[in-house]
Amino acid sequence: MAGVELSKIRKTFGGTTVLHELSLSIRSGEFVALVGGSGCGKSTLLRLVAGLDEPTAGEIKIGGRVVNGVGAKDRGVAMVFQNYALYPHMSVRENMSFALRLAGLPAVEVAARTAEAARMLRLDEHLDKKPGQLSGGQKQRVAMGRAMMRRPEVFLFDEPLSNLDAQLRVQMRAEISRLHRRLKSTVIYVTHDQVEAMTLADRIAVLRDGRIEQVGAPLDVYHDPQTKFVASFIGTPSMNFIQAAGLAGVNSPKDAVDVGIRPERIQLNSAPGLIRLGSGSVSLVETLGATALVHVALKDRELVIATPAGGAPALDSAAEAWTEPSALFFFDARGARVS
């Protein structure tokens, strides 16, 4: 297996710069998720690693070798596409073995590897079907099988689960996780879904407007967001923000403009040592089962509070929001974290 080293990558299309001097180092065997909203450059970055595009400036190393200018097929990478990109006129078997046949491997070897991948992905009985006859989840597994067949140094995933329904997505998430543990390969995984990133990745890189906002282990990013954007992007439901000026009884740092509080850290009852965030009436209660999301309308904004479902207040009742001082994140006018 091989690590991937990106240094000072810049990519421009026409006059627009999509990636700004971006650097990222991925260890061998590591699972890194690139997350961000649409247009943040995460897919572009993946395509640069794959060799489907060339960077305008900067260097890409795979396994210590500079691969700028090296063709996609010679980089030792495999990619799973969002829409699977299976060849519609070929059977599952032909789809999976296409690369190996092109590489001129002996038929016995090709057959053995196909059988192995099919067994691993539980596709044995579908090998002679065409992609059109498969369900979404099966197509997804074929796409992964095709990628596995070449025993690549690096796996690239481009929003692989976004075309699946919610239940299947959870299943496939587990499947990808299992495969990664088993193959111990390096993975770069692009997604806009931060839950996927949190659950799968060893490290998350949050991208915004062609720059990396923060890189770190999922829980580190969650507990210690460096910018307001990262704080709001990671975590569901997303973080509440109120103005620092309106908060009484707290020693706000000098430059603090906004204060962020995660919904699960807000309480509806007062207790010693808590800070009062404000009061208002309950405008909406969403019951998710064990927990409930309570929306409380303050004067100028709404707070979302996650509470155990049993303790949720009634609609339109008055409510007060409280939290511990340690749950507060302060951000300056430019969105950077201050403390």
Binding site: A72, K73, A78, A85, Y87, R150
Partner: protein, 275 residues
């Protein structure tokens, strides 16, 4: 359910009369080809022949080298079809999947060639071919028609609709661009390619003015010209024989069309020409 059935019955009835009208001229032609002597011009005119007499076919084949004409036409039409399909595949691939300067201009040029009235090109092309020494040769019949702007346009539309991820997946799988074209894009585009091939074959088979100008010797005549020649040489010949000859010369395209029309419709449907 009942209403649906009634609707379908109405549709079938609506279709019936136009279908009869549309089919009648061809049916009439076929019937005429079996009529002998005065039966063709009899009054009142009849539709059905008295018997399925093949005499007209025999005398048609005897009085002119129709077989030779047919073989010439088949060879020329297949060659033109093959060349047009092949050149259109390559050019459409370049236009749909490559970036190069002047692409819009080249594309516009292909479109513009569809608009030039055929009559305009006949005389200059005759002189060009005379310079090449291709008059009265298969090359002269085939080479000027070896590319088609319409074909390039049609396949371009189709190639563009194939997701680009397929080509990227193929590149990662180690396929060169030409291998992607011939192993993935062409098999995927077979409906459109078949549709265009049928169109090209029918157009080539039905060419009239150009073979008339280029062909001089009898042995090089194509079916269409052969029929005209056949008619003028046999003024006295009965209409029945002419109709028999016509039937034989229409048959290849009609048969081809009956078998290929489903593909033809499907190919055009999938080429982005839909609404």
């Amino acid at each position: 359910m009942d209403r649906g059935k009634r609707g379908r019955a109405v549709a079938a009835c609506v279709l019936f009369l136009p279908a009869v009208l549309q089919l009648f001229p061809l049916f009439y032609l076929l019937c005429m080809s079996f009529k002998i002597g005065g039966e063709v011009m009899s009054y009142p005119p009849t539709v059905l022949p008295k018997s399925l007499n093949l005499a007209n076919y025999r005398s048609a084949l005897h009085s002119a080298p129709l077989w030779r004409f047919l073989l010439n036409s088949l060879f020329v039409s297949f060659a033109i079809t093959f060349l047009q399909v092949f050149t259109a595949i390559l050019a459409a691939f370049a236009l749909a999947r490559f970036d190069f300067p002047g692409k819009t201009a080249v594309f516009g040029l292909f479109i513009a060639t569809m608009l030039v009235p055929g009559e305009v090109t006949i005389i200059p092309n005759y002189f060009t071919l005379a310079r090449f020494g291709w008059i009265d040769s298969f090359a002269g019949l085939i080479i000027p028609w070896s590319a088609s702007g319409f074909g390039v346009f049609l396949l371009y539309q189709f190639f563009r609709s194939v997701p680009k991820e397929l080509e990227e997946a193929a590149a990662l799988d180690g396929a060169s661009r030409l291998r992607f074209l011939f192993q993935i894009l062409v098999p995927l585009s077979l409906p459109a390619i078949t549709a265009f091939a049928v169109y090209a074959f029918i157009s080539a088979w039905n060419q009239y003015l150009w073979p008339l100008v280029v062909v001089q010797s009898t042995s090089m005549q194509t079916a269409q010209i052969g029929l005209g020649m056949f008619r003028s040489q046999n003024e006295s010949m009965s209409w029945g024989v002419i109709m028999a000859a016509t039937s034989m010369l229409i048959a290849p395209t009609v048969v081809l069309f009956v078998f290929a029309q489903k593909q033809f419709v499907r190919g055009l449907t999938m080429s982005g020409l839909k609404g």
